[in-house]
Symmetry: C3
Subunit: 161 residues, 3 copies
């Protein structure tokens, strides 16, 4: 069994909504980034890649590559899940903490978990999405950006691996 | 086996001490919050809930609900541990990193671990409390708040779950 | 099975390079600290110690102790790995996320993973190093410091421990 972590941040700017865990939430700001800037899926992509030492999201999908402009981040996450399976891994669970002053994530939690379940091909019970504010302090507290911390646990074939 | 993460922050203001991992430490600041603002227990509560996709602490204990004003955060942690057990889970270990410029956590580490062991009903060897400063930079470094990062590992009944 | 987390930060100042995961990278800044200030190895040291409740790096190697001035941080990591083994643990994997605006970590990833494999005595496939920027915001974004988040998974002898 192996566990990986992931961390990502994207800046906020004036806009009409944010995409988090594959769910669009109307909001008075949007996330900046070369893709859809879904910090939750980016952090989780890194956490999965980590379990087999397969580099990070920037390695597989360079921000400088124009083909990922505006891309749906599910592409990145599904790619990472495929790499895990090719290494003989079975995803035990996936967990994301969103750190954002706004918008409220709670009303969208179930939709987000359903997306993760779909993208990863695992039971929704094994998919977790949580959220907290940064209590108005730091870059998250000043609404300059949204951060995400992800954890993924994967069992690899063979002995107690 | 599944692993969950948790992250929490509370602001510091002038006061007479902070409660961290259930232990009161005299200090020239206190943590703001609707409950006792124990960031360590809040982060760990989220990490446990994550292992069975049971939402987050704000979901179970809305800050807007007056009944949790000044509450001891052990209530939140024990509630999460109960949910884990109801889902067939056995807690393997619980780990918290406190990020705080002050006060010093080291002298209170054993007392904090004993509290976690008591609240979670697991051996103290499986309970870990660590601390680091933020080297005087960022919101933690400016003593505007204290942050905590938690990890919990839980084995659920049934096959390699 | 138990999972531990680790977090560390060191300030950046004018200099000629940084040591991350045991690899020196030429850069126009350096990391401040009592040892070589390798934030990645410090965070991972904490993550390993956490799996057996053995305190934190500051506990084992007080910054106030002059003998660790300028020390290579592999000493700290190897010490933690030894404690894990003495407790009957086998390290399943080690993962680090570096949060730094610069320098680029990608070109050094394989060298860093090889160092971790050497220090920990585990297969390189079980060693993961990832990196992300903080998108120019916060203390990392302002190049005031570099942060690291680590995760370690360890299986301890005996039943489903
Ligand atoms: Mg990103
Ligand atoms: Mg809280
Ligand atoms: Mg350090």
């Amino acid at each position: 069994v192996r566990t990986g972590n992931g961390y990502d941040v994207h800046q906020l700017e004036a806009g009409d909504g944010v995409t988090l865990c594959g769910v669009f939430i109307p909001h008075d700001q949007k996330l900046k980034g070369h893709s859809d800037a879904d910090v939750a899926l980016h952090a989780l992509t890194d956490a999965l890649l980590a379990t087999c030492g397969a580099g990070d999201i920037g390695d597989h999908f360079p921000p400088s590559d124009p083909q990922w402009r505006g891309a749906a981040s599910r592409i990145f996450l599904e790619h990472a899940a495929r790499i895990v399976r090719e290494h003989g891994g079975t995803i035990m669970n996936a967990d994301v903490s969103l750190i954002a002053e706004a918008p409220k994530v709670g009303p969208h939690r179930q939709a987000m978990r359903a997306k993760l379940s779909d993208y990863l091909g695992i039971d929704i019970e094994r998919c977790s999405v949580k959220a907290t504010t940064n209590e108005t302090i730091g870059f998250v507290g000043r609404r300059e950006g949204i951060a995400a911390i992800a954890t993924a646990t994967v069992v690899y074939r063979g002995g107690k691996r």
